[in-house]
Assembly symmetry: C2
Homo-oligomer: 99 residues x 2
Amino acid sequence: MFRHVVMFKFVYTVTAEQKLAVLEGLSRLPNEIGQIRSFSFGEDARVVDGNYDVVVVADFDSSDDYLVYASHPGHREFVSTCVLPFLASRAAVQYAASE
Amino acid sequence: MFRHVVMFKFVYTVTAEQKLAVLEGLSRLPNEIGQIRSFSFGEDARVVDGNYDVVVVADFDSSDDYLVYASHPGHREFVSTCVLPFLASRAAVQYAASE
């Protein structure tokens, strides 16, 4: 299994509506992109300080399937519309995860 | 389920041995800390550029169990010995994940 993990930190001026649009956009991706095997995401629980705002944990059968996801028009539109305009920092790792 | 996701980016001078010690230290944590329900980690696959180096995805029954983990002596020693001396950046999110 090939796992993609990405975190977003938003600019201070981001609104609740803009953050909600990120979460709603993420919720639509598994229906649009068949290569996604499993998909989990969430907003930081604010249990500790200094965290990023949102994390996505997405599993694929292979790195090739991840790359299809990364370049998929539905994913690209989501990123350019919902994420990039409000993005302060991004952190990502992809790794070979056990089943 | 309460999920903790953290990424580390190491300084440019980190050695292969020092990175291996991080992975070995992570592999020991589930045996030392009973609150961990599931634990996955890995080194970045280098499929794309600009990523962090290592990610950890750890699941707990509750945020309280995560906080026990975070302050557990075994975890603290691992972080202070294996991670902090070589850490360039850290990114983390905790969130309520579905089962």
